[in-house]
């Protein structure tokens, strides 16, 4: 992933005001920064949802200005919203989102077990879940997608202690098989331990910080994703 001097606009407002960032394959990058700094916007830009107004960028080798469609197929985004269908059960939701990318039913089941949804909750409609249970379901949908680039917007919010551990384990596994992960979070204690690199977003721009070096995935692999 590479961004140079990226500007993105919502309405009239420059949510990103010249951001430069390079992320290598296998890294877990933590985006932090004050409210309204542009973290969510940066993730949406990477996911190909927000058009680039100025500057340049490539994601997984695809140009962000010309080739946004092909990026999306390989990227998984967990936004502030969960994107679940309230009338369907947990299993049906995970299965639907898995099926859209051709996940097998074994993969779907594995994702549900991973997020602790395989028991009582499997057949409960999403409308009856608690906030944290919904978040878990959304994560399971994401896990079932097996994306190459994971973009997570405050994934820990609403999860309980075990949920957080499960999530962290899942993310580490994903990087082990070559995925790259970008996490935006305000929970520095939690996400900081996970991340291989800390990046601060302020005023739509990016300030690099010294890596926390929680794992060593990034040092080993150094090809630009």
């Amino acid at each position: 992933m590479q961004l140079s001097n990226a500007v993105a606009v919502l309405g009239q407002f420059p949510v990103l005001a010249g951001a430069d960032l390079t992320v290598h394959r296998g890294e877990i990058v933590l985006l932090q920064g004050p409210n309204g700094a542009g973290k969510t916007s940066l993730l949406r830009l990477f996911a190909g949802l927000l058009p680039l107004a100025r500057g340049e960028g490539t994601v997984l080798g695809c140009d962000l200005r010309t080739n946004r469609e092909s990026i999306r197929k390989r990227v998984g985004l967990l936004g502030h919203a969960n994107g679940l269908y309230a009338d369907l059960t947990v299993t049906e939701n995970v299965r639907f989102w898995g099926a859209t990318v051709g996940a097998t039913s074994a993969e779907v089941d594995a994702a549900m077990v991973r997020m602790g949804l395989a028991q009582r909750l499997a057949k409960v409609p999403v409308s009856k879940l608690s906030a944290g249970q919904k978040r878990r379901t959304a994560l399971a949908c994401l896990v079932a997608r097996r994306a190459e680039l994971w973009l997570l917007d405050e994934p820990h919010a609403g999860l309980d202690a075990t949920g957080r551990d499960e999530l962290d384990a899942t993310l580490r596994e994903a990087t082990a098989v070559g995925a790259t992960i970008i996490v935006a979070s305000h929970e520095l204690e939690r996400a900081g331990a996970l991340a291989t690199r800390l990046v601060e977003v302020v005023g739509g721009q990016i300030r690099e910080k010294a890596g926390s070096g929680g794992s060593s995935a990034s040092a080993a692999i150094d090809e630009s994703a």
Binding site: L50, P51, V75, G79, A81, G83, D87, L88, P125
Partner: protein, 225 residues
């Protein structure tokens, strides 16, 4: 594309099975609209003359509600965004949602037609059955296609409850006219002859062809940010 369409249609219909919104609420609504028309137009002779028009008007109003419901499902928890982010083929989404909508509309229309036959004293005649069935098929598919197209445009926009009718109603006017005249011919309302109906069915056919191609191509750009 067709696999996606099948998935999406299956999901929409399953949600309908779970929530029973069409069966329990739209059907009675449409029936009430018919009764209401009869009230507003109080004179018997008038109602009998314009019955086919009323059937299609009631269908249109129900269409508005159905489309709204169909996209409320998607926007309630940001599923449209999730779909875009997942790189799901927009043409597939379009066809899938249109298919589900057509299925729901078809059920509705059968009930409406039955109501008209009973309330407004219309006669079914053997010679008109082929025309009647093909008119209903063509009109249903046409309405579902346009409804989905403009529903996708209005979804997620603030004030969507009101934008949708504004865009949709003028466009479906040809369907209203064509279907009304063809139905009149099929039922022999006010002495119409079956042969008069075929050109109108042709108009409906053109409409369907236009919107199936146009919609499939245009849906992507429409829901794009």
């Amino acid at each position: 594309m067709f696999r996606t369409a099948r998935l999406v249609a299956a999901k929409d219909l399953r949600i309908e099975l779970r929530s029973r919104v069409v069966t329990n609420q739209v059907l009675p609504f449409a029936a009430i609209v018919m009764v209401m028309f009869a009230f507003a137009l109080n004179t018997d002779a008038v109602v009998e003359r314009v019955a086919p028009g009323l059937v299609w008007l009631a269908t249109l109003f129900s269409l508005l509600i159905l489309v709204q419901r169909s996209f409320a499902i998607e926007t309630a928890d940001g599923a449209t965004d999730a779909m875009r982010a997942a790189g799901i083929d927009p043409a597939g989404i379009f066809l899938g949602k249109a298919l589900a909508l057509a299925a729901e509309l078809a059920v509705l229309e059968i009930v409406l037609l039955a109501t008209a036959v009973i309330l407004y004293r219309q006669d079914l005649r053997a010679s008109g059955v082929v025309l009647l069935v093909s008119t209903f098929l063509a009109a249903t598919i046409g309405l579902a296609l346009v409804g989905t197209l403009y529903g996708g445009l209005a979804a997620g926009v603030r004030g969507r409850e009101t934008l949708l009718p504004l865009l949709l109603l003028p466009v479906v006017a040809p369907v209203l006219i064509g279907a009304t005249r063809a139905t009149e011919a099929a039922l022999g309302t006010a002495g119409a002859v079956v042969a008069d109906g075929w050109p109108w069915l042709g108009l409906l056919g053109v409409f369907v062809a236009l919107f199936s191609v146009g919609g499939t191509l245009a849906f992507g750009p429409l829901i794009e940010e």
